[in-house]
C-alpha cells in the first residue's frame, strides 16, 4: 500500500513538475520545478527497490546539478533574464513563444505516438516477469558490480569527471579582455 501511494505521489510529482518546467516562463522557477521532478524520479526509483540509485539521484541532482543551474542562471542574468509576460503565449524573448511551442508540441506529439507504438511492440519482446519485490541490499551488490563487471566504465567515468571538472574550470574562468 505504501509503495502504491509512493508511486502515485512520485509519478504525479514527476509529470506535474516536468510540465511546469515546460510551461513556466521564469527560468528560476523552471529550475525549481525541475528539482521537484527529479525528486519525483528518485521516489520512482525507490518504488523500484533501487534505494542506492534513488539517494544518488537526490545527492547529485539536488546537491549538485540544480544548485549549479541556479548559479548559472544568476551569473547569466542579462537583459532578457526576467520575463515580463507570465502567460503561456505572451511575448517572452528567450523563453519561447507560440511558434516555438507549436513546433515543439507537434514534434513531441509525433514522438509520443511513435514511442507508444514502440512500447507496445517492445512489451511483446520483453514480457514482464514476476520477481520478488525487492533486491536485498543493493549497495553491496552495486559495489561488487562496479569493481568487477563494470570496472572499465567505472574508471572511465572517473576520468570523465576529472576532465569535466578541469574543463569546466578552464572554460568558465574569468579572462582579462
Amino acid at each position: 500500500m505504501f509503495v502504491q501511494l509512493l508511486f502515485l505521489l512520485s509519478a504525479s510529482l514527476t509529470i506535474g513538475c516536468a510540465i511546469a518546467v515546460a510551461v513556466t516562463k521564469n527560468i528560476m522557477h523552471s529550475c525549481i520545478f525541475l528539482l521537484g521532478s527529479l525528486i519525483g524520479i528518485a521516489g520512482l526509483y525507490a518504488t523500484l527497490g533501487a534505494d542506492f540509485v534513488a539517494v544518488t539521484q537526490i545527492m547529485v541532482y539536488v546537491g549538485g546539478i540544480v544548485i549549479l543551474m541556479l548559479f548559472a542562471v544568476m551569473l547569466t542574468g542579462g537583459k532578457d533574464f526576467v520575463s515580463r509576460a507570465q502567460n503561456l503565449l505572451g511575448l517572452a524573448p528567450s523563453m519561447g513563444n507560440k511558434w516555438t511551442y507549436g513546433v515543439g508540441l507537434s514534434v513531441g506529439l509525433v514522438f509520443l505516438l511513435t514511442n507508444v507504438k514502440l512500447i507496445l511492440s517492445i512489451s511483446e519482446y520483453f514480457p514482464e516477469k514476476k520477481f520478488g519485490n525487492e533486491f536485498p541490499s543493493t549497495v553491496t551488490q552495486i559495489g561488487h558490480l562496479l569493481v568487477k563487471d563494470h570496472v572499465l566504465a567505472f574508471e572511465l567515468s572517473s576520468v570523465l569527471l576529472l576532465g569535466a571538472l578541469v574543463g569546466a574550470a578552464i572554460i568558465a574562468r574569468p579572462r582579462k579582455q
Partner: protein, 732 residues
C-alpha cells in the same frame, strides 16, 4: 651455509647507498659526507671479512663455491630461451679478492679524508670513490660476464670522473678522456667476446662457460675462420688488456695520475687494473682451450720490460709508480700465461697492497711539500719518518727483496716462467718471456730505489730550486715550511697498516716464494692451497640455486685439492724435477738481480760514483722520456695520418662521385618530371578536379544551406523526425 642475501648484499650495497646519499645530499652533510663513504666501505669490509674467514679458516674445502642466481629479465617465447640471470658467485679467489678490495679501499678512503681535506673537490671526490669501490666489489661478486661488463663500465666511468676531477685543468680533462677512450678499445673486444660466447652456449655465466668447456661445446665452432675458443678468449683478453694497461694499450695509465693521488691509488692498486687480471684469471680455462697462453705471456713480458725501462727516467714520483704498476701488471699476465695461476693471483693481491701503500705514501709526500718532481725533493727522511718507513717496506717488497711479499709472488712467477721458457719444450722463441721478466725485475729494483734515494735521501734540494714549471704553483712554500710528521690516524696509520702486510709470510707461510725456508706449518700456506685454476669438470650439471634460498650444499669438509709442495701446481706432474730445478735457479737469480739493481741505484744516487743514465745513453734516455713515442704514435700516425687520410678520401668520394653524379643527375631527372607534372596539375587536377568540385559543391550548397541553418533546435526537430520515421518505416 647460512649465507643469505642479507649477508652478501651489503658488501655491494653499502657503498652504493653512500654514493647515492653523497651524490644528492653530500653538500649538506658535515664534512661533505666523507665519513659516510668511509663507513660504508668499512661495512663492506666487515662482511667481506666474514666471508673470507669462512672460506679460509677451514669452514669450506678448496673447491667449495657459492653460486646463487636470480632472473633479471626473461624474454623467452616458445622454445626460444632468452633470459638473463644475474647472481653471485663466490669461490676462494673471490673471497680473497673481496677482502683485499674492501680492506685496501677502506684504508684509501681513510687516507683520502686527510688528503682531500679543504680541497675544493672534496665532496665530489667522495661521491665517486664509493661508487668506484662498489663497482669493483660488484665485479668480484658477479657470476657472469654480463654483470661483470656492467660493473666494468661503471668503473670506466668512475675512473674517468676521478682522473678528470680537477676539471679546470685542461691536462686533467685530456687525461680522463684518454683513459676513457683507450679502455673503450678493449671494452669493444670484451663485448665481442661475450657475444661470441652467448651465440654458442646461450649464457655468459662463468659456471655455464666452464661446463661448456668441460662438455666440449666449443669444439668445432668457428667465428670468421678462427676457432671460437680462440676468438672469444682473445677478445676477452683484449678487454683485460685495455683495463689492465697492457702493451700497447698502456698509454692511459700514466696519465691517470692527473687525478688526486688516493684516486690513483684506488685505480692502480685495488680496483681498476686488477679487474683485467681478474677477468683473465676467471677465463683461464677458455684461454687454455683457445691456446692463447703464449700470447698472454709474451704480452705480459713485453709490458713488464718496456714499462720498467720507461720508469727508469721518469722524474715525477707518481709517474714512476704508474709505470711500475704497468710493469707489475705485466708480471701478472706472465703468470697467467705461463700457467702459474696461483702465483699470478698472489701477485695481484700482494701488488695491490704494496702499490696502494706506495701511492698513499707518495700522496703523503706530495701533500706535505706540495711538490711531485723528484729532483726537487731529497732528504725527506727527517721530516716524514713514518711515510719513509712505509714506503721503504713497500719498495723492498716491489723490488723483490727476500722476506717481502713481492719476492714471494714475483719469484714464483719468474720461476714458472723460467721453466716455461727453457725447459718445457715449448717454442724456443718463448725464452723471451723469462729473459724479459728477469731483466724487468732488475730494472724494477733499480728504479724503485732510485725513487727512494731521490726522495728521501741525500740533501734537501727544495730551497735551491725556483723552477715554476710544475703544476701546483706553491713556489713560495718551500722546505722550511715542512712540518715534522706526527703519527696521525688518517695520514700515516693507513700506510703503516698496509706496510705490515708487505711481509711475505702472510701470504706464503715460507720466507721465500718457493718451499725453501719454511717457518710455519702447512696451515699458513693457505693461499697456495686455496687458489687453483678452476677445474671445469666439476661444473657439469651443477644445479642453480635461487637467490634467497639458503645454501643446500653440505658444510662438511670436501676432499682437499692435492697440493704438491715442490711445484706449486695442483696435481701430480711428470716434470717435477725440472720444475724444481727451474724454481731453484729462478729464486737465486732473482735475489742476485734484485740486489744488484739496488746496489747500482745506491752507487748512482747516493755515492754518485756512477754517472746517471742520461749521461751514458743520451739518445735512449730521450726515447724513454717520451715513453717510446707511443703517444706520438697514436696521435700523429694513427689518428692524424691514418684516420685523417681516410676521412679525406671519403670526403673526396662524397664530393666527386655522390655529389656530381647522384645528386646533380637526380636534379636533372626531377626537372623533367616537374615539367610533366606541371601540365598534369594545371589541366587535369586544377581545371577538372578542383574547379569542377567547386561547381559541384556550389550546387549541393543550395540544398544544404537550407538544412544547415545553424539553429540547434531546428536540428533537434530534424533529428526527432528522422528517428520517428525510422521507427514507423522499419516497423519494429
Amino acid at each position: 651455509m647460512e649465507y643469505t642475501v642479507g649477508s652478501i648484499a651489503p658488501i655491494f650495497l653499502a657503498p652504493v647507498i653512500a654514493f647515492v646519499i653523497n651524490a644528492f645530499f653530500g653538500r649538506k652533510l658535515p664534512r661533505q659526507g666523507d665519513w659516510l663513504a668511509t663507513l660504508s666501505i668499512f661495512i663492506s669490509f666487515i662482511f667481506s671479512a666474514r666471508i673470507f674467514g669462512d672460506f679460509v679458516f677451514g669452514k669450506f674445502a678448496t673447491d667449495y663455491f657459492i653460486h646463487k642466481t636470480f632472473t633479471w629479465f626473461d624474454l623467452s617465447y616458445g622454445s626460444n630461451i632468452w633470459k638473463v640471470d644475474m647472481g653471485v658467485y663466490i669461490d676462494n679467489m673471490a673471497a680473497i679478492m673481496l677482502l683485499m678490495v674492501s680492506g685496501v679501499a677502506f684504508l684509501i678512503h681513510l687516507f683520502s679524508t686527510w688528503y682531500m681535506d679543504h680541497d675544493e673537490k672534496h665532496g665530489r671526490f667522495f661521491v665517486f670513490l664509493p661508487l668506484f669501490t662498489s663497482a669493483m666489489l660488484g665485479l668480484v661478486l658477479s657470476d657472469n660476464l654480463f654483470s661483470l661488463f656492467i660493473f666494468w663500465e661503471v668503473m670506466g666511468f668512475c675512473s674517468y670522473s676521478l682522473i678528470g676531477i680537477y676539471n679546470k685543468k685542461e691536462k686533467a680533462g685530456d687525461a680522463s678522456l684518454k683513459a676513457f677512450m683507450t679502455t673503450r678499445v678493449g671494452d669493444v673486444f670484451l663485448l665481442l667476446g661475450m657475444v661470441a660466447i652467448w651465440m654458442v652456449i646461450g649464457s655468459v655465466s662463468y659456471v655455464d662457460i666452464y661446463a661448456a668447456i668441460a662438455e666440449g661445446k666449443f669444439a668445432g665452432q668457428t667465428v670468421i675462420g678462427i676457432s671460437l675458443a680462440t676468438f672469444s678468449g682473445l677478445c676477452i683478453f683484449l678487454g683485460g688488456m685495455g683495463k689492465s694497461a697492457q702493451f700497447p694499450l698502456h698509454v692511459w695509465l700514466p696519465d691517470a695520475m692527473m687525478g688526486p693521488t688516493p684516486g690513483s691509488a684506488l685505480i692502480h692498486a685495488a680496483t681498476m687494473v686488477a679487474a683485467g687480471v681478474y677477468l683473465s684469471l676467471r677465463m683461464y680455462p677458455l684461454m687454455v682451450l683457445g691456446d692463447l697462453t703464449w700470447f698472454i705471456a709474451v704480452t705480459g713480458a713485453i709490458t713488464a720490460f718496456i714499462a720498467a725501462t720507461i720508469a727508469l727516467v721518469q722524474t715525477d714520483i707518481k709517474a714512476v709508480l704508474a709505470f711500475s704498476t704497468i710493469s707489475q701488471l705485466g708480471y701478472m699476465m706472465i703468470g697467467v700465461g705461463v700457467g702459474s695461476y696461483n702465483a699470478a693471483f698472489m701477485h695481484l693481491i700482494t701488488h695491490a697492497i704494496f702499490k696502494a701503500c706506495l701511492f698513499l705514501s707518495a700522496g703523503s709526500v706530495i701533500h706535505s711539500i706540495h711538490e711531485q718532481e723528484m729532483p726537487k725533493m731529497g732528504g725527506l727522511r727527517k721530516y716524514l719518518p713514518y711515510t719513509h718507513f712505509a714506503m721503504m717496506c713497500c719498495t723492498l717488497a716491489i723490488a723483490g727483496i727476500p722476506f717481502f711479499s713481492g719476492f714471494v709472488s714475483k719469484d714464483r712467477i719468474l720461476g714458472d716462467a723460467l721453466y716455461y721458457g727453457f725447459m718445457s719444450g715449448q717454442n724456443p722463441l718463448l725464452a723471451i718471456v723469462p729473459i724479459l721478466g728477469f731483466a724487468g725485475a732488475g730494472l724494477t729494483a733499480f728504479y724503485m730505489f732510485r725513487m727512494m734515494f731521490l726522495t728521501f735521501y741525500g740533501e734537501n734540494r727544495m730551497s735551491h730550486h725556483h723552477d715554476d714549471h710544475h703544476g701546483h704553483g706553491h713556489d713560495d712554500h718551500h722546505g722550511h715550511e715542512i712540518h715534522h710528521e706526527h703519527l696521525s690516524p688518517r695520514q700515516n696509520v693507513p700506510l703503516l697498516i698496509l706496510s705490515v702486510f708487505t711481509l711475505g709470510f702472510w701470504f706464503a707461510g715460507t720466507l721465500t716464494g718457493q718451499s725453501f725456508g719454511k717457518v710455519f706449518g702447512e696451515k699458513t700456506e693457505w693461499f697456495k692451497i686455496l687458489v687453483e685454476a678452476p677445474k671445469v669438470e666439476k661444473f657439469v650439471n651443477q644445479s642453480r640455486e635461487q637467490f634467497g634460498t639458503t645454501d643446500t650444499k653440505p658444510s662438511v669438509e670436501l676432499p682437499k685439492a692435492i697440493y704438491e709442495h715442490q711445484t706449486g701446481y695442483a696435481g701430480p706432474n711428470p716434470d717435477d724435477h725440472k720444475i724444481h730445478t727451474a724454481h731453484t735457479i729462478g729464486a737465486i737469480a732473482s735475489i742476485i738481480i734484485a740486489f744488484s739493481g739496488v746496489f747500482l741505484a745506491f752507487l748512482m744516487y747516493i755515492k754518485k760514483s756512477v754517472k746517471p743514465l742520461a749521461d751514458i745513453f743520451p739518445a735512449y734516455t730521450e726515447t724513454l722520456k717520451n715513453r717510446y713515442y707511443f703517444d706520438n704514435l697514436y696521435v700523429d700516425v694513427i689518428i692524424k695520418k691514418g684516420l685523417l687520410t681516410l676521412n679525406q678520401a671519403l670526403s673526396r668520394f662524397d664530393m666527386g662521385v655522390y655529389d656530381r653524379f647522384a645528386v646533380d643527375g637526380w636534379a636533372t631527372v626531377n626537372r623533367w618530371a616537374f615539367k610533366a607534372s606541371k601540365w598534369f596539375d594545371n589541366v587535369v587536377v586544377d581545371a577538372i578536379g578542383v574547379d569542377g568540385t567547386g561547381v559541384a559543391v556550389n550546387l549541393f550548397n543550395l540544398v544544404l544551406r537550407i538544412v544547415q541553418s545553424g539553429k540547434i533546435q531546428f536540428y533537434f526537430v530534424i533529428l526527432i523526425t528522422v528517428l520517428a520515421s525510422y521507427i514507423w518505416t522499419l516497423n519494429i
